[in-house]
């Protein structure tokens, strides 16, 4: 009897990152959230170029129209708009009717009518290409035909008659970029500060961490408001300020990590082998710090987005005509009973993004946590 042992090819070793990536891919919630976030970011960046309206365009005939998949104007709006346009032209409406997708308007006046009144009809958001088809001999009555201008507002319009779809995407650009940038600022400050304190140790560490403790004890909102007031309502400076107050946790985490890594045997071994300080930093310390930093950053981004929305909610954040999800929610809250889509739509965008970011953060924590292996 011969015994045969199959010689399996040796398993290829997996690096920390390849392993973490495999674990992350196995986490369904994190993967779906990642895809969702990518779609959201893509929609916010590219979307406003393809929506039929500009985010600042005001349609005076479409104030607060509800979301609808079918085209505007609805019949009653057509009626209102025609009457309104004729009134603006200081004419009397005899009758108007719709025929073969054309609007035929007959008007009369006490004085002879100038044919240029067609522009009053064109100026409305509902009618276009108005032509004079018939004019009475005395010039006191006029018949005009115009095309109906079809418009789509899938998410409705806001108080001033601006397209909510375009605005919510533009607001997404602001909210997401503030989240990322301010998050990055906080991470950079926190990592530098925490790593310095951790590596320096001794008195330096003690003084630096005392400062962090004191900043912790300051009422957070007060601190943020003072910074915002100080920097004015400048868009860039504002999120630098937001980032500048959110680095405290990061600094604490990094300091703790740095302190413990510094005392690990492999660092001592590297020191004994004569590896330079810089070499130790790059080869051993940075890769070991990276895990917690990445995890904390994914959890920091939603916090920053919430803080930005909160500031915007108070009127301290992004200013008109720009918008952020926080601004839109606060405006929506003021119009709630009659126009609930103005709050529900931005609230959905904001919370779904926050959910996705949280799931990714949790997934990364599970993937990178060495204790869980």
């Amino acid at each position: 009897m011969t015994e045969q042992t199959a010689i399996l090819p040796a398993d290829k070793g997996r690096s920390l990152w390849a392993d973490a990536w495999a674990r992350l891919k196995a986490n369904r919630a994190a993967v779906i959230s990642g895809i969702y976030l990518m779609i959201m970011a893509f929609a916010c960046i590219v979307g406003p170029f393809f929506t039929p309206h500009d985010y600042t365009t005001i349609y005076q005939d479409y104030n607060r129209v509800p979301p609808s998949l079918s085209a505007y104007p609805k019949p009653n709006q057509l009626d209102l708009a025609v009457k309104d346009a004729v009134k603006r032209a200081r004419l009397d409406l005899a009758k108007w009717e719709e025929k073969d997708d054309k609007i035929i308007t007959s008007v009369t006046s006490g004085k002879p009518i100038d044919e240029r009144v067609t522009r009053y009809l064109d100026r409305s958001d509902v009618l276009e290409n108005t032509l004079v088809t018939d004019k009475s001999a005395d010039g006191l009555s006029l018949t005009m035909t115009s095309d109906v201008e079809k418009k789509y507002f899938y998410f409705g319009t806001d108080n001033s008659g601006r397209d909510v779809l375009t605005r919510v995407l533009m607001a997404g650009r602001v909210s997401l970029s503030i989240g990322l940038l301010a998050g990055l600022v906080a991470v950079v400050i926190g990592v530098l500060y925490g790593a310095t304190a951790g590596f320096a140790g001794g008195k330096t560490d003690e003084v630096m961490m005392r400062i962090v403790d004191i900043l912790y004890a300051l009422p957070f909102i007060f601190f943020v408001i003072m910074l915002v007031v100080f920097f004015g309502r400048n868009f860039i400076l504002m999120f630098l300020a937001v980032g500048a107050v959110m680095w405290l946790d990061m600094a604490r985490i990094v300091r703790g990590q740095a302190l413990s890594i510094k005392r690990q045997e492999y660092v001592q071994a590297a020191e004994a082998l004569g590896v330079t300080r810089w070499g130790i930093l790059i080869r051993h310390i940075v890769p070991n710090l990276l895990g917690p930093v990445i995890i904390y950053m994914t959890l920091l981004v939603p916090q920053v987005i919430i803080l930005e929305s909160f500031l915007s909610y108070l009127g301290l954040g992004v200013q008109e005509p720009m918008s952020s999800w926080g601004v839109m929610i606060s405006q929506g809250a003021k119009n709630m009973p009659s126009a609930n889509w103005l709050i529900i739509i931005p609230a959905l965008f904001l919370t779904s993004t926050l959910f996705a970011l949280n799931f990714i953060g949790d997934g990364l924590r599970d993937a990178l946590d060495p204790k869980d292996r």
Binding site: L218, I225, G326
Partner: protein, 307 residues
């Protein structure tokens, strides 16, 4: 024990001092002043106002003056609400904020601890997932989204509660603010409790208790709960300080006359004394509750001794 209490109270003094000092100068560095808003204010009147409130003096003297008054327990007058002193405003606002905040925190603790224990005992079952989902939702959705949606659903559509206002403290007016304040806390407490309870149930002394044949009730609620409560206690301290001093968002949205709204209002109006007053009150609450947390720690965990 008494020595520990005294030492803690003594170390609180420099902390408070540093907070007051930083806030004082931070606020003064910001441009603008309390009497700059009113357009066309007569320069003579403005100068008079500034003299009355000592704002024409050098900053260091104003600072010493403020500290001196503060030590006497005098928060000073409010600049923008001239008929009131800061102490008056707190006397009427603080009870409201404390009432709403303590109800919210109390409910969050009771319900959150119960949910957390329940989830930990049914780990990886349907009920557990339901609690985890609730915790995720509660800690993800910001208050300024929950509050208006609550108004939309329960006040405007169903008409169960008034949209806002205090109504002299009628309970229907309190439901919305308490619930919106409670939900994020409930989420965090139940999540913390679930985690620490799962850990506590794996401890050696619990295995021993089980081996001794103690009832499940006694194992969970008498032996495991005690250790599992520690993270909740350390969370509840700062949370209590934050909740009892009022929430800007909740008080603004539900129009409640608490002190939370002064934070933003006063800072924007450069109502220096009122801002400083809120900072001091929040700092006192923070120090106080951190102290209570430490005492509770000693009471719950016999390994902790303060001598």
């Amino acid at each position: 024990m008494l020595r520990y209490v005294l030492r803690r109270l003594l170390t609180a003094i420099p902390t408070m001092f540093v907070i007051v000092t930083i806030s004082f100068f931070l606020m003064r560095v910001a441009p603008g002043g309390p009497f700059n808003q009113e357009k066309g204010l007569n320069p003579v009147i403005k100068a008079n106002l500034e003299r009355v409130f000592h704002l024409d003096q050098p900053l260091w003297r104003q600072y010493l003056y403020y500290l001196q008054n503060l030590l006497k327990g005098d928060f000073g007058p409010s600049y923008n609400l001239p008929d009131f002193t800061v102490a008056d405003l707190f006397a009427s606002g603080l009870p409201v904020s404390i009432q709403i905040g303590s109800m919210a925190l109390g409910l969050a603790l009771i319900v959150g601890i119960a949910l957390g224990i329940w989830a930990a005992l049914h780990q990886n079952q349907g009920t557990d997932y339901a609690v985890v989902a609730l915790a995720t939702a509660g800690s993800t959705i910001p208050t300024f989204v929950i509050a208006p949606l609550f108004q939309l659903a329960f006040a405007l559509s169903l008409k169960w509660f008034p949209v806002g206002g205090w109504g002299d403290g009628a309970w229907v007016n309190k439901v919305g603010p308490i619930l919106t304040l409670m939900l994020p806390q409930l989420a965090i407490v139940s999540r913390l409790m679930r985690g620490s309870m799962i850990e506590a149930l794996h401890a050696h002394h619990i295995r021993t208790a089980r081996a001794l044949g103690l009832s499940e009730f006694s194992v969970v609620l008498k032996h495991a709960l005690r250790g599992a409560l520690l993270p909740i206690i350390s969370y509840a301290g700062p949370a209590a300080a934050a909740l009892l001093t009022g929430s800007v968002i909740v008080e603004t949205i539900f129009q409640i006359p608490g002190i939370g709204r002064y934070f933003v209002e006063a800072a924007l109006n450069r109502d220096y004394t009122l801002v400083m007053g809120t900072v001091v009150v929040v700092a006192i609450f923070t120090v106080l509750f951190n102290f209570i947390v430490d005492l509770l720690y000693a009471a719950v965990d016999p390994r902790v001794r303060y001598d």
